[in-house]
């Protein structure tokens, strides 16, 4: 028995034509031409394939205005079924556990790196912040916050655990509250996108904290923290300022700068 290539079925569809497409795909299972080799286990899911298989089927090219009933236009449907089964290419099925896991891990890691490059380093996409961090993820911010907490905790000679807990709680709740601040000022930003952004902008401060941990000279610490603080603020500025009304830019930006300054003081003050 040949398995259908499109095993994943999109949900939340409201349009009639989409439901017809699903029926189409199930009816024309045997006719789909591109079939990768499948293991005999029932759920043949393309785990290692492209991450975001579009959950909405591509719209059929020419559907007549009236809702078509099933027995009419069989040729049109066949063409649609074939076209859609050719549009989605699946990767090889998971033979071992490591194969799909590695692909997913690599994909997530590359997303972290690309998000980092978009946010922290100069690049042409900074003009359009909404597009830049469309592919938000919270793994990068998680690693950066934990790393900052760990660095501060290692630098501290006493009360290591409290330093770590305070740093982590400060950064996490600070990010949430800053996001709420932007939203309450009437800004247009997605909650998770903003959390992700504020987390990624911690990257320069992470570097600063690392350098301060390695070299214990006060003057050097002040200089390094100032430089990395300016870098963090420069990284966060366009995203926040674009999200709110120009008259409220300062209201949205000031708390962000305040939080980064307080983290900078924390880095300097730890000995």
């Amino acid at each position: 028995m040949s398995y259908t290539e499109r095993d994943t079925v999109p949900l939340n569809q409201s349009s009639q034509s989409d439901i017809d497409e699903i029926e189409n795909l199930i009816n024309y299972t045997v006719q789909s031409t591109v079939l990768p080799a499948r293991p005999p286990s029932p759920p043949s899911i393309p785990v290692s394939s492209s991450p975001f298989i579009p959950s909405n089927l591509p719209p059929p090219p020419q559907k007549p205005a009236s809702v078509p009933s099933v027995p009419q236009q069989p040729s049109n449907r066949t063409a649609n079924g074939q076209q859609q089964s050719n549009l989605t290419g699946f990767g090889s099925p998971p033979n071992t556990l490591t194969e799909p896991v590695w692909d997913t891990v690599k994909r997530d890691l590359s997303r972290i790196v690309s998000n980092l490059k978009l946010v922290v380093f100069p690049n042409p996409f900074r003009e359009d912040p909404g597009k830049a961090l469309r592919d938000w993820d919270l793994w990068g911010p998680f690693f950066f916050i934990v790393f900052l907490g760990l660095t501060l905790s290692w630098s501290a000679s006493v009360k290591n655990s409290e330093v770590f807990a305070v740093a982590f709680a400060l950064l996490a709740t600070g990010a949430v509250i800053l996001t709420l601040n932007v939203l309450l000022l009437g800004g247009h930003i997605i909650f998770f996108q903003s959390l992700s952004l504020l987390g990624y902008c911690l990257f320069p401060l992470d570097i600063g904290a690392l350098i301060c941990m390695l070299k214990d000279n006060v003057i050097l610490k002040i200089v390094v923290v100032c430089v990395t603080l300016a870098w963090s603020s420069w990284a966060a500025y366009p995203f926040i300022s674009m999200a709110v009304n120009p008259r409220r830019k300062a209201l949205a930006l000031y708390p962000v700068l305040l939080m980064y300054v307080s983290v900078g003081f924390l880095i300097i003050a730890i000995d």
Partner: protein, 183 residues
């Protein structure tokens, strides 16, 4: 939902079931035994939260797809709106899913959240704010997965019902039409 695994068949994906349970149990075990392992709260926090985050990732990306055929994620569309997308296998594949796998999946998912809630209550009673932080983070991750997959399953059922009624309705209308055309 019954307390015992459905009889008569073995796990279809034993390795994935193992990993599904491994990180959950690891996070809980490390949290419980932390007093024996290490004095430092930092280590406890980092290791527990790391295991919980790994578990979140494994359940969302690997075991959800393979054990129950569900997947959920969030996208930002061109208008800048955030859209939650849910996806499931078609009905035939869903029916072919191993019952034991899905039993294990759902039971462990709900059970870990309940256990974390207990630990949260304990740390509240003992006024340990930093342990409450750990429990809070782990609980957030478990609940996120639970909500995502439950919504996904509800959507899958709704979609299947919609589809079934739609096919019945269309077949009915087509037989009516053919009946009338004959007459």
């Amino acid at each position: 939902m019954d307390l015992n695994p459905p009889p008569g068949e073995n796990y279809a994906n034993p390795r994935i079931c193992f990993f599904h349970v491994l990180f959950k149990a690891g996070a809980l075990a490390f949290y419980i035994l932390s007093a024996l392992f290490s004095d430092s709260f930092v280590i406890i926090f980092v290791v527990t939260v790391l295991l919980a985050a790994l578990d979140f990732w494994v359940v969302k990306n690997v075991s959800g797809r393979i054990l129950v055929g569900l997947r959920w994620w969030n996208e930002i569309d061109d208008n800048g709106e955030s859209v939650w997308k849910f996806e499931c296998l078609d009905q035939e594949s869903l029916a072919r899913m191993n019952k034991k796998d899905s039993w294990l999946f759902w039971w462990t998912l709900y059970l870990t959240a309940v256990v974390w809630i207990f630990f949260g209550i304990f740390s509240l009673i003992r006024f340990q704010a930093d342990y409450l932080l750990v429990v809070g983070v782990c609980l957030t991750l478990s609940i996120a997965n639970i909500v995502g997959f439950t919504k996904c399953r509800k959507d899958a059922k709704k979609q299947i019902q919609q589809f079934a009624s739609q096919t019945i309705a269309s077949r009915f209308s087509s037989t009516l039409q053919s009946a009338f055309s004959v007459v």
